[in-house]
């Protein structure tokens, strides 16, 4: 399969070696290249683009997946706007995203700074911090479920031993959200700190040295050099954790089941979509929820894009620092 028909190959070679001469059909000339990239486009058309278009059509229909489709126009969306369960899911998703992302990115930055020092066992530490990110979320959701368990979990046992009141982690609205946020923080802090670490390592040491020669202290170096230069990397982590936060599913589903726990306090947007489409068999409404999520994601993308434009300001600052350094050198 890997070695082509010898009768064809030499022809291709001579043709590509003499471009422009008697202009052969590009399909004939570049057929191996087109064949190579074709699988991706075929798969995308069938399993990417078609479902995308089809889901728009589905969202205008009432369908249980078995009987006939019933075109209802915008009725699914009209219902969605007035559906308190949907808005509860949106609220939950945002709260969990908010209370997980901020501590997670802060901790990741701290860990990255610590790992950036010239210390021993750096390789081991990096692997240890990255490990949560590659493990099965189903297994770890089960573990977190036991650690945060109301009656026999380690955390409540520790609180009891300290004489403090136990917290109903898995049965109170805030307890559920905090438990899910802890899972997200645990899983993604190491990932983000590795990204920050790579960003820190990309900053030239000369920049730090010259700043020190100029008499800059630790805080000045951090706020004037490190943060501006790390800004694009921080932005990347904000974008990826927003996308991840909006599509939260496995953690609440394994921890609390399809219903999102007591009072649907752990119901996220994707879990609600799954719930409506695959347990209530309301395919049309499930598709409408998916598109609503898409619109929310686009709004976030626009906000992020605004932040990217501000990155230019960061770039100016960097430029200034560089220029100052040059002046010092002269």
């Amino acid at each position: 399969m890997t070695i082509t028909n010898p009768a064809v190959t030499p022809a291709t070679v001579t043709q590509s070696a003499t471009p422009g001469r008697n202009k052969p059909n590009p399909i004939k000339r570049f057929w191996p290249q087109y064949v190579s990239i074709a699988p991706f486009y075929i798969l995308f058309l069938v399993f990417g683009l078609f479902p995308l278009v089809f889901s728009i059509w589905l969202s205008f229909n009432d369908w249980d997946g078995m009987g006939s489709m019933n075109f209802v126009g915008l009725a699914q969306y009209r219902f969605l706007i007035t559906d308190p369960r949907f808005w509860n899911a949106v609220g939950n998703t945002f709260i969990i995203w908010f209370i997980s992302t901020i501590p997670m990115l802060f901790l990741a930055l701290v860990i990255a700074f610590l790992l950036h020092q010239n210390i021993r066992f750096k390789g081991f530490y990096r692997v240890a911090f990255f490990l949560p990110n590659v493990t099965s979320m189903v297994a770890m959701a089960i573990v977190f479920g036991s650690v945060f368990s109301d009656s026999f979990g380690v955390i409540n046992s520790a609180l009891q031993a300290l004489g403090a009141a136990q917290i109903p982690w898995l049965s109170s609205p805030w307890g559920i959200k905090i438990t899910i946020a802890c899972m997200v923080i645990w899983r993604w802090t190491g990932y983000n700190s590795i990204i920050y670490l790579a960003g820190l390592q990309a900053i030239s040491t000369e920049l730090y040295e010259s700043a020190r020669v100029d008499g800059a202290n630790g805080w000045n170096i951090f706020s004037r050099i490190t943060v501006p230069l790390l800004r694009p990397v921080i932005l990347f982590t904000v974008i990826t954790s927003t996308i991840g936060g909006l599509s939260l599913f496995t953690e609440p589903q394994v921890l609390l089941g399809d219903s999102g726990g007591p009072g649907e306090a752990g119901m996220t947007i994707v879990l609600y979509q799954y719930n409506q489409a695959f347990t209530q068999f309301d395919f049309g409404y499930g598709s409408a929820i998916a598109w609503a999520l898409f619109i929310i994601a686009v709004i976030f993308a626009i906000i992020n894009w605004r932040l990217v434009s501000e990155r230019e300001v960061g770039g100016q600052k960097v430029f200034k620092v560089r220029r100052q350094r040059k002046e010092v050198a002269e």
């Binding site: 995308f44 479902p51 860990i111 394994v254 598109w291």
Partner: protein, 299 residues
């Protein structure tokens, strides 16, 4: 003054060092210790759930529900594993998951490296347009197509079939994008040219020049894809229906929702789903971490 207070520092210090030098050294030693302590606390939080998973899998349920909680290993691991095997076809699921993940990883390595080589080293009509389309597919969120993909799979008759897990993931934009950068930076044009002069065609140069030179990138993509496919949950949950043909993650969540009362057994099942993956990650970790970071910074 400070140097005499700390014999450890004086021993470490350069014998020719002045007092201020020793002070600086001591400060750096304190900083180093504080740094290590902070990192170790972080590492403990990071690996505690794994430890807890192993501890719970070695106890019976009565012990797990008892107070105070057991912090050290028990003796019921074998019993728990036996119970798991009797309750769900866990080893069957393990085999299923391994085969699906390996198939996806191999297909992705094959198709993505071919496409990446074509995009990275050749100019052909419509190349830029096609590559822009490829990049644009990054923007399509996965949850949008959950429902219609399920309908499509049922039309194809792939519900309950591993084809539904393998075929849609056989080539992806992420891998092509990643390997294209490897192709551009690590394969010299002269080498491709001289192979062409020697009469090698596109596929021949791909196999004997591009693949060996992109080896690092292809290996990373393979490990990454394998791990992602192993951990995939929502899609297998939707398309797999036959209990004999579940993947590990779905089997595990079934175990959890049905036998929540037998925690020891559920934890033993979780151990089986986590341990092989950790092994693969640690073997490939160096490569993995470096590339994850590089991909993020370029992206």
């Amino acid at each position: 003054m400070t140097a005499t207070l700390d014999p450890g520092t004086t021993r470490l210090a350069d014998p020719t060092g002045s007092v201020s030098n020793a002070m600086a050294r001591r400060r750096s030693l304190v900083t180093r210790i504080v740094t290590h302590v902070c990192i170790v606390i972080g590492v403990l939080f990071s690996i505690f759930p794994f430890y807890w998973l192993l501890v719970m899998s070695t106890h019976n349920t009565a012990e797990i529900f008892g107070y105070p909680p057991k912090l050290w290993f028990g003796s019921d691991f074998a019993t728990n594993i036996k119970n798991v095997v009797q309750s769900v076809a866990l080893f069957r699921s393990l085999l299923n998951t391994f085969l699906v993940s390996a198939a996806v990883a191999i297909l992705v390595m094959f198709f993505d490296s071919l496409a990446a080589y074509a995009f990275g080293k050749y100019n052909f009509p419509a190349k830029n347009v096609l590559f822009t389309i490829l990049l644009a597919t990054f923007l399509v969120p996965g949850s949008l197509s959950l429902v219609p993909s399920f309908v499509l799979m049922s039309w194809l008759g792939w519900i309950g079939n591993f084809a539904a897990l393998i075929v849609p993931g056989a080539a992806n934009a992420f891998g092509i994008f990643l390997l294209r950068q490897f192709a551009q930076t690590s394969i010299p044009d002269e080498l491709v040219e001289s192979a062409r002069v020697d009469g090698a065609g596109f596929f021949r140069t791909w196999w004997s020049i591009a693949v060996p030179m992109m080896r690092g990138g292809i290996a990373f993509l393979g490990i990454f894809t394998f791990i992602a496919s192993w951990n995939d949950y929502v899609w297998p949950l939707i398309v797999l229906v036959d209990p004999q043909r579940l993947t590990l993650q779905v089997a595990l969540s079934t175990l959890n929702s049905i036998y929540r009362t037998d925690y020891g057994m559920v934890m033993a099942g979780a151990v089986i789903s986590v341990v092989p993956l950790i092994g693969i990650f640690i073997i490939g970790s160096r490569h993995f971490i470096a590339n994850i970071a590089a991909g993020a910074l370029k992206g």
